[in-house]
Symmetry: C2
Amino acid sequence: MGLGLGDPPADYGPIAAVGLFVALMCVCIVVGHLLEENRWMNESTTALLIGLGTGTVILLASSGKHSHILVFSEDLFFIYLLPPIIFNAGFQVKKKQFFRNFMTITLFAVVGTLISFSIISLGALGLISRLNIGALELGDYLALGAIFSATDSVCTLQVLSQDETPFLYSLVFGEGVVNDATSVVLFNAIQNFDLGDLSTLKFFQFIGNFLYLFGASTLLGVATGLLSAYVIKKLYFGRHSTDREVAIMMLMAYLSYMLAELLDLSGILTVFFCGILMSHYTWHNVTESSRVTTKHAFATLSFISETFLFLYVGMDALDIEKWKIVSETYSPMKSIALSSVILALVLVARAAFVFPLSYLSNLTKKTPGEKISIRQQAIIWWSGLMRGAVSIALTYNKFAKSGHTQLPSNAIMITSTIIIVLFSTIVFGLLTKPLIRLLIPTRHLTREVSALSEPSSPKSSLEQVSADGPEADLENAVTIRRPPSLRMLLASPTRSVHHYWRKFDNAFMRPVFGGRGFVPFVPGSPTESSVPLLAPVSEN
Amino acid sequence: MGLGLGDPPADYGPIAAVGLFVALMCVCIVVGHLLEENRWMNESTTALLIGLGTGTVILLASSGKHSHILVFSEDLFFIYLLPPIIFNAGFQVKKKQFFRNFMTITLFAVVGTLISFSIISLGALGLISRLNIGALELGDYLALGAIFSATDSVCTLQVLSQDETPFLYSLVFGEGVVNDATSVVLFNAIQNFDLGDLSTLKFFQFIGNFLYLFGASTLLGVATGLLSAYVIKKLYFGRHSTDREVAIMMLMAYLSYMLAELLDLSGILTVFFCGILMSHYTWHNVTESSRVTTKHAFATLSFISETFLFLYVGMDALDIEKWKIVSETYSPMKSIALSSVILALVLVARAAFVFPLSYLSNLTKKTPGEKISIRQQAIIWWSGLMRGAVSIALTYNKFAKSGHTQLPSNAIMITSTIIIVLFSTIVFGLLTKPLIRLLIPTRHLTREVSALSEPSSPKSSLEQVSADGPEADLENAVTIRRPPSLRMLLASPTRSVHHYWRKFDNAFMRPVFGGRGFVPFVPGSPTESSVPLLAPVSEN
């Protein structure tokens, strides 16, 4: 540690690495800001390209010895980077939209991921075995299926607008989060599943276990969220210190993730539901300043984690060791062939469930506005083509554990994953903005006009933040448009479930756990007067 | 990594450790909140005791094998925990008070620390050599002087109120921060100083180097702070995203620390001045929401780091390895004797500079209100008696590097430091609240009454936050009480320096770098209208 006067240079390692990363993240933010109105780029592509560029510079500067300054560590990814991203996703999600489309989201994210997993696994079994790569077992093919079923919809979400296309956004967004959880759970189930003797009983055990994981993880997230709401409502930390409120919200959210991992559940699902519960109850129990702070602080932490992640993946891609092993054993064509085969399987597998499941989902809907149009189906299909950090982390887990990278067949799996991640993020990522502009032409026009006329008014208005939820909920606006109760019950059962849930929420949950309209009385706080409890909030 | 279904238990290490720490921090926050009105306890003592308790439980559960779940790492301390604490100190400091008392603070923190260092080093040389501990060199005694000159004034600051005793608070606070920097710079200077041939020239080189470090570190902090203000003012991130503003402020502050460490400067001083500059310029250039968010998010991060630190020190104290080595070589009395000798030296060394330097400082002041009363001197003396994490980190750096802990004389130095830190933090810490209540009797009365009548009004009012600086500056209130210009110039030269600085700041700095009253125009933002530019802000 260089604390002052001339310590030996060997000690600079961690500081130089962290310092360089921080500097690069600043560059990413500035460049991302300058390219905001650019037609092709988005922030994740920018970070990935800057990471690749820096990796190249380091590779040249170290005369081809190494390209990264931090080794890709699964722990870093799953313990520190993923939780803030997923938590923030739950915290800022438009709950109304999310729960209204809950069935469709689950259909895509669970059934769809299982279909995608089966097709990729079977396809890999049929096609990759012909490429003569080496000894791959059945477990390896199944793992490939799970690894390449984990989508990365960040690129698309950065382009779609939650306000202008709420329905599409909630589908893509919800599927993205639940899909990550499904893939990770699936991957772990395969890793721990004895593939020696397959029987019908075992298959049902597998399905049962899978459902248990989903249910238990969700419950744990809900329980932690409610506990945080109750504790903050009862103890009322804000009396003494705003910082304590913010700190306990952060720590309890993180704790829910850690608990889930310790209990062998899915931390991703847990922390996602914890975020939803916290934004529905806990957020309304804290002081005004804590509300503004948590809303933006959580978003910032998630933003920093995401930028870090893409930089990191970009830098790690050039890790020379693995490429050497691969190039010593295989021809360059084989690596490209393998990547192309997997990428083709990804394209086919996604098409194979998005269009049929959309058709199924449309059958249950009555009004045309609720159906998924063919353009929307195309966007949903496209949004799930990118592969990202989850795929990389799972590949490392499977093929790089305890020094097995020395095995050429393992090394080529890792390099192929990197090729697929880079190709899909950069090429598909660059095409996303123009494609969506083509499919939803009105959207961009509205956005650009509003960007010119009032650049930051929705962000700078504090009153707006406190009146709405952290996700700027459209709850009341939606309430008004709702048809009468009996017709509703016939038209769509999920809607009336939502109706009874609201009754239950108002009668029992909110009085106990707090929530909008049930915050403790704070003398001098503008909350009581400024929250228009039943007045409609305009959609923009 | 346990991601899902039954991974082997050996992989749970990092998750279990981080999870336990997060859970304990939640406990600390809740207990700290419940004990807020307690007469004896404060938050750091609470965290330390909870850490000690948990350490004992782990020690018993592992049948005496180990007491901590994370090994004390200097990197963790200096790279991750210290920067947010010191940055927040600079960000929230009442700049007016700090700069008004700048000369006195520098006198205490630089000259005082040097006096304390000399007395402790000489005393250790004279007394410890008689205890027959083993081969200690001159460098070791000098290092001890630097290690035990680093005070930890967190305990006192938690009890003092910035609003009720602004003068005393700024002295104790300012001394605390600059003292840390002085000790660390001193420690590193000794580590890298060839003690073989001492000459007058070398001594002056040493002094020159010391002054260079101070100047360069401060300049770097100022430069980074101004750069952040300029970048944010020019690019105006808030147009697109509040998160980017908050992220870039966080990252640039951290970058200043990393840069200072890489350039062999003092990161503590750099990040402290970066915090001051950011709160004076950058903070006024961001959107309303970013202002509230940064104010509370930085405070929360600092609060979490502090709690973590005390927990960590408490747990690490029971590290059984070192205690074993010590008990095998020395009698228990020797360990206690060594700690008592050092503690006595600390008490004497602090008294030896606080009272004479206060006398000197009082000679330059004309009005009685500006002089440091004898009661205030006693509190300043007391506030610097606690030793904390900086001492521990420096001791580890000196006596535990590259496995030297096996040497009994090194091990006893570490255990003695732990004894001193625990004793001073717990015993002196518990006495701090009653002592200050005794010396400033009116203070507590006011606080308790106001705590009962309006629990959280100053915190929940958002308008207040945006009108004041992040440190809730009393600038305008002070301006009104100021005597006319000519008398002022005669009475105290620093005040008129301040006067000319303000003129320069208004004419040149603020138009370029932004700042109160020079923020870019934000349509729809309440900033322009709600900031009472020249209206006095009441002191409470």
